[in-house]
């Protein structure tokens, strides 16, 4: 009861802070700007926050962080909108939303897809906020159970999951993952300081930027191939109606939302690709659950939108836990938040909760408000966002490319990054022509270096004893799960069924 009272006292302090007119306005402006930029294809939360960060420098710290949180949610929701309507992921975690969301739009159910994405995000957001408020401190302890050995095993599991999840040819998926791993090797080796595959170019000594790869293979390549094959591109901007979900849709989506929320909340706390892994994991689970889903996954199943959307939002929410309780950003977006907090003289970490409770709880309350604003303000505004996508391609596409370039440039203020992005755009076009999926490449690119780092770190810490991965129970469990996945997928019956599942893309 005591803990409950403390929680209520904290939350009421938070809402008292967030519910000032000024902060509500900043929260709304943040959501609006975030959606505006996030809805542009190829521009995800990272680029959006990076682009809008300077706009918050002049604000008081609480207002600035509240606005940034708003931008973050707006950008995420904007990303889902684009994924559903244009089949372009605004961010890596909406890659999964695209699979079924776009198919729903093709079948004239864009409204339902957008609603369920918003609703799922809101429910997951509420739940995530509560978790954040109630369990921030104890949950951060969970991260300590994970040493380098556990992280390595988790990533093995993640990569094998990606292979199983990949649609189309298994060989191509493995090929793309390996290519991603190789690309991830470019840069200075953390352990020895030796530059790898940098060809004497100083910009490459820090590796290829994630944003360049993501924007290149998704944003640029998509846009350019669509100019090429104009009639194949369908943008469902006229068919957005029926925002109200039918009872049948709701009944189907609700359990998926709850499952996605649960998975997302758990995976979001872990450093690394929290929201992304959460979305992938949720999609895999939805796909495995229930026989004969109608329509099948990959063809516009509502659960395929509801689950991952809830999971990535819950993950986004709980990824604030390591940041706010330990000052450890679990992903790139949170790293940007650290930068923003430091600019305002706040050192993220456990002391924020005690020395600046108004800020800490105000931010938590504003997360919930931000999520609410997305539903009650942004959903009705969907028409406006759609108008943005209705702009003729000859204007929209160059504008998008320009925004992408600005986004890429703004991360490091370096034109070299823009060149690399263009290069990956060309590569992305080649992949599309060859029918190779880019999502596994991206996952390999992110997880590869982390996996190598943790493998070598675990070996360094065990002074060269490889059994460390089997003697630590958590690590062993994850490796066994990975093994089980390989066994399952190589069973003849399953692999045949898998091919059937992905036959219609």
């Amino acid at each position: 009861m005591d803990a409950f009272n403390t929680l209520m006292a904290n939350l009421s302090l938070g809402f008292a802070t967030a519910f000032t007119l000024q902060n509500l306005v900043y929260c709304f402006v943040g959501c609006l700007l975030g959606t505006l930029i996030g809805v542009l294809p190829g521009i995800g939360p990272i680029a959006t926050i990076a682009m809008l960060l300077p706009a918050t420098y002049a604000l008081p710290p609480i207002a600035a962080l509240i606005m940034l949180a708003g931008i973050y949610y707006g950008a995420q929701y904007g990303g889902s909108t684009t994924a559903i309507l244009v089949n372009l992921p605004g961010e890596s975690s909406s890659v999964v939303t695209m699979l079924d969301g776009y198919q729903m739009a093709r079948k004239g159910r864009a409204g339902a897809a957008l609603s369920v994405a918003a609703l799922g995000s809101f429910i997951a957001g509420c739940f995530g906020t509560l978790i954040l408020a109630a369990f921030a401190a104890p949950l951060a302890e969970l991260a300590f159970k994970f040493g380098p050995a556990e992280y390595f095993s988790l990533m093995v599991l993640g990569l094998i999951g990606a292979v199983v999840l990949a649609s189309g040819s298994l060989i191509k998926a493995i090929g793309m993952i390996i290519l991603g791993l190789l690309l991830g090797l470019v840069g200075t080796d953390v352990n020895t300081g030796t530059a790898r595959f940098s060809f004497g170019i100083p910009e490459l000594s820090d590796g290829i930027g994630f944003i360049s790869v993501a924007m290149g293979v998704f944003g640029f390549a998509e846009i350019i191939t669509n100019v090429d094959m104009k009639d194949k591109r369908e943008t469902f901007t006229n068919k957005v109606e029926g925002l109200i979900l039918s009872w049948k849709d709701f009944k189907e989506a609700a359990p998926a939302i709850l499952r996605g929320t649960g998975i997302g909340s758990l995976l979001g706390i872990l450093p690394g690709g929290g929201a992304l892994l959460a979305a992938f994991a949720s999609y895999t689970i939805e796909k495995k659950l229930g026989k004969n889903p109608q329509p099948p996954f990959g063809q516009g199943n509502i659960r395929g939108v509801a689950g991952p959307e809830s999971a990535n939002n819950a993950g986004a929410q709980t990824s604030f836990i390591p940041l706010l309780t330990l000052g450890i950003p679990p992903n790139a977006v949170m790293a940007l938040m650290v930068g923003a907090m430091t600019i305002h003289n706040i050192q993220p970490g456990p002391q924020v909760m005690t020395s600046n409770p108004a800020l800490f709880w105000g931010m938590i309350a504003s997360m919930w408000i931000g999520n609410l604003m997305l539903v009650i303000l942004n959903l009705p505004l969907i028409g406006m966002w759609v108008q943005l996508l209705k702009v003729p391609y000859r204007i929209l596409y160059p504008a998008i490319l320009m925004f992408c370039c600005i986004g890429v440039f703004s991360v490091n203020n370096n034109s070299f990054d823009v060149l690399i992005t263009v290069l990956f755009g060309v590569l992305g076009i080649v992949f599309l022509k060859l029918g190779c999926e880019a999502a596994p490449l991206l996952l390999g690119f992110i997880l590869g270096p982390m996996m190598e780092e943790n493998l070598r770190r675990a070996m360094l810490l065990s002074r060269g004893d490889p059994t460390v991965f089997l003697t630590r129970p958590l690590s062993l469990v994850m490796l066994l799960m990975a093994l089980a996945m390989i066994v399952i997928i190589s069973l003849p019956a399953i692999s045949k069924k898998r091919e059937e599942t992905f036959v219609e893309e």
Binding site: V190, P202, L326, G327, I328, Q347, Q351, N412
Partner: protein
């Protein structure tokens, strides 16, 4: 004194007038201050304070050019004209450690630059996991000698001040421990708190709160004197290792050949800005100790730092390129 030939005197007079004119005008366009690290870190904040408080009459534009341990940004300034319109917020890395670490430096840390002044320095804090049965530096040394190479220390990468502090500790005390590099100090912290690694020479501002919360134990600070931010923590030098010093510092440099008057102008502005009471308060919350030395002091300090780190880096065998 021989009388000057009339034409020489004339040329001299014209040149003098031109340079006087130029001096009077400096700065007559915005000054670009290159920060060799991303937004948000200590060098970035110091640069933004300068930009915010300047009264030079021209904007000071902060330009973040991170990468290659700061070498990318420092190289830009090394190759810029020495006119005072491009200056760099240098760090212990870009202007001393990197010289020993990188076999092919894209610039000469001394010859390519004109020192302006040292702004601030911050010691690192030797913190250990709470389960490690030591409370002081001598106890740690005894423990390490009894358990050779049992401990591991983390760092945000090869050649960081956090890494070389550990290497300096090893070579000064003749002990052994394994260096475990991470991609950033924030990634090393969970392993330190969880006990996978046992110690780290972390940056003072980020480590202090964790010490105050009781999550980590502080054994000593690496500065020559106790930092005003942590007056209760003894220095490592005080604990039987006289002369032990490993600090991260931040200084302003202009390209080589920058006129004396311009350097003096920038040095004066630096002194004025970082002595403002509100700026001093901000530095204190960031755990930065203001030094505010002259250009000559910076040149001397830099030479000493280069010599010290060259030896430590060489002994440790660390390399980056």
């Amino acid at each position: 004194m021989k009388p000057m030939k009339p034409w020489k005197a004339l040329v001299g007079a014209i040149l003098g007038a031109v340079s006087l004119c130029a001096q009077a005008q400096y700065p007559n366009k915005p000054i670009r201050m290159v920060v060799t690290f991303p937004t948000g870190g200590a060098p970035d904040i110091l640069a933004r304070i300068f930009s915010e408080k300047t009264t030079l009459g021209q904007a000071v534009v902060v330009d973040n050019k991170p990468g290659a341990g700061g070498n990318i940004g420092a190289e830009i300034v090394a190759k810029a004209p020495g006119d005072g319109y491009t200056i760099v917020m240098a760090t212990v890395g870009t202007h001393s450690i990197n010289g020993a670490l990188y076999s092919k430096m894209p610039y000469d840390m001394v010859k390519d630059f004109t020192p302006i002044g040292l702004i601030a320095s911050t010691p690192n804090l030797l913190v250990v996991n709470n389960n490690l049965p030591v409370k002081t530096v001598p106890e740690l040394i005894t423990y390490m000698k009894a358990n050779p190479n049992k401990l591991s220390f983390g760092s945000p990468g090869i050649g960081s001040s956090i890494h070389v502090s550990g290497e300096l500790f090893k070579s000064t005390t003749g002990t052994q421990m394994t260096h475990v590099p991470y991609k950033g100090r924030q990634f090393a912290l969970p392993d330190l708190l969880g006990g996978s690694i046992q110690l780290m020479f972390d940056n003072m501002p980020s480590a202090l709160p964790l010490v105050k919360e009781g999550k980590l134990r502080a054994l000593g600070q690496t500065g020559a004197k106790r930092s005003p931010s942590a007056p209760d923590v003894p220095t490592i030098a005080e604990q039987g290792l006289p002369g032990f010093e490993a600090t991260a510092w931040f200084a302003l440099f202009a390209p080589a050949g920058t006129p004396k008057e311009v350097v003096a102008r920038l040095q004066g502005e630096m002194q004025r800005i970082y002595k403002l009471p509100d700026v001093q308060d901000r530095l204190k919350t960031l755990g930065l100790d203001p030094v505010l030395g002259t250009a000559e002091e910076l040149a001397k300090y830099q030479a000493a730092e280069i010599a010290k780190w060259a030896k430590v880096v060489k002994d440790s065998g660390a390399r980056a390129d």
